[in-house]
């Protein structure tokens, strides 16, 4: 299983938000490039970059820093936040991003997801944010009656490479990931799931590791590694046994 450090960018800084609230941010570093190098040097096999300004404005706002990060490290990088057109996907892929993550646009336009997957087969990842298994939208402001599993099946049909599943009641709260809903989701589709939200300790990683057999290929961790509650190197070493292609 891949332990994937998250670098969330806001105003050129590396921040963490609590439950997706732009006003509840903590700045962890004013130098995201050094941060990326640090996580890579500790053995991370992939980074998860989110342009938070981009996500809120609907158009990328931290491209230069993302490019600097991609150049600075020798591991694959996935990028999300404000990606709403093919040109932006082109730009990130030619910058050297390994995968791009579609958020808002994926809910609004299945046609766009299908087109993106067609052009960039294997490189389009879509996020599903949910609370107790129900899909949340509008920057988590609204929880719908739609089941996360239904949406995952739709995305699988569109051809996405993987789904990032975020339990919004847990993200940035360090209450432990929602193991059961993550497992259920992973079992319901054939494409890999990347778990996100709530990892607080090495014990959470231990609980998640068996899910690699159910199709959970990675886990994104943010606050826990920044606060020191989780030792990234320890987590990476523990999970490396399950590393597969």
């Amino acid at each position: 299983m891949e332990i994937i450090p998250a670098i969330d960018l806001k105003g050129g800084q590396c921040v963490r938000l609590e439950q997706g609230d732009m006003k509840r941010d903590t700045v962890f570093s004013s130098d995201p490039v050094s941060m990326a190098k640090k996580w890579a040097s500790l053995g991370a096999t992939r980074l998860h970059l989110v342009d938070l300004d981009g996500a809120f404005k609907g158009t990328p706002r931290n491209k230069d820093i993302i490019e600097d990060i991609i150049d600075a490290i020798s591991i694959p990088v996935q990028v999300g936040g404000g990606i709403r057109d093919i040109e932006t996907i082109d730009e990130y892929i030619s910058m050297g991003a390994d995968r791009v993550i579609l958020g808002t646009i994926a809910q609004k336009s299945p046609q766009f997801v299908i087109k993106a997957c067609d052009i960039y087969h294997g490189r389009i990842v879509v996020g599903i944010d949910a609370k107790e298994g129900k899909v949340a939208i509008k920057g988590w402001a609204e929880v719908t009656s739609k089941n996360a599993m239904e949406l995952a099946a739709e995305y699988e049909d569109y051809g996405v490479a993987a789904i990032i599943y975020t339990d919004i009641s847990r993200d940035g709260m360090m209450r432990g990931p929602n193991i059961e809903t993550t497992r259920e989701l992973a079992l319901s589709v054939d494409i890999p799931i990347i778990a996100s939200g709530g990892v607080s300790s090495i014990d959470d990683i231990k609980k998640l590791l068996p899910l690699v057999n159910d199709g959970v290929e990675g886990v994104i961790t943010g606050k826990a590694i920044y606060s020191g509650a989780l030792d990234l190197k320890e987590a990476v070493d523990l999970a490396a046994n399950g590393r597969t292609g």
Binding site: G43, S74, G96, I191, R243, T244
Partner: protein, 201 residues
């Protein structure tokens, strides 16, 4: 000087930066002159075989690359830069490659639970002690992104990798080393390969 051949296919900066991190200087160039002058060349490449081959030819770079190899100067191929060495690929119909190594490029068959493209970390089995792999332990992990694999008809395999079927993940023949995986995205083991290439005499 190491020259990374720029023929308009994807991000070459990451390869150049990889060399930089490994402590070697490399220039990125699409000019025939600089490619001819270079003591070592790197042929990277992402995208479709057909487009890569066409771009190489349209820019007059296929010949200089072949001549460089024929002169016995060090050559490193990465991903499509490995595949292009072969005689032909079945990508979108049969397409001719540089034909430096005998063999073909084939698509992974569609199988359940094994997605195409093969994308992610996978380990390599060393079948030969290639100079560039001297510091690489057997079963080390490298980063792969590809839908096609090579089928050499010569004894050139340096490593193999299992992805439902066992395919040749790198080759070594005289002055040629080429790998299907991306050393520039493969942590310190990857940079080790770039460093070893930079230090070749």
């Amino acid at each position: 000087m190491i020259a990374v051949v720029d023929y308009g296919m994807g991000n070459l900066r990451s390869v150049q930066k990889g060399f930089e991190k490994a402590g070697c200087d490399a220039l990125v160039s699409g000019e025939v002159k600089s490619i001819e002058k270079a003591s070592k060349i790197v042929l990277p490449g992402v995208g479709a075989f057909r487009d890569c081959m066409r771009n190489l030819e349209e820019r007059g770079l296929a010949e200089p690359v072949i001549r460089h190899i024929e002169k016995g100067k060090p050559f490193l191929g990465i991903c499509l830069g490995l595949q292009l060495l072969f005689e032909e690929s079945e990508e979108f119909g049969a397409h001719k490659g540089l034909g430096v190594i005998k063999g073909k490029v084939k698509r992974f068959p569609q199988r359940e639970h094994l997605k195409v493209p093969h994308m992610g970390w996978n380990s390599v089995n060393k079948v030969k002690e290639a100079p560039l792999l001297a510091n690489i332990k057997n079963e080390s992990y490298f980063y792969f992104v590809h839908s096609y694999y090579i089928l050499p008809e010569e004894d050139v395999a340096a490593t193999t990798t299992d992805y439902g079927l066992e395919f040749v993940s790198s080759i070594w023949k005289d002055n040629i080393f080429a790998c299907q995986f991306h050393p520039e995205k493969s942590q310190s083991d990857g940079l080790n390969i770039l460093k070893a290439f930079g230090e070749l005499n």
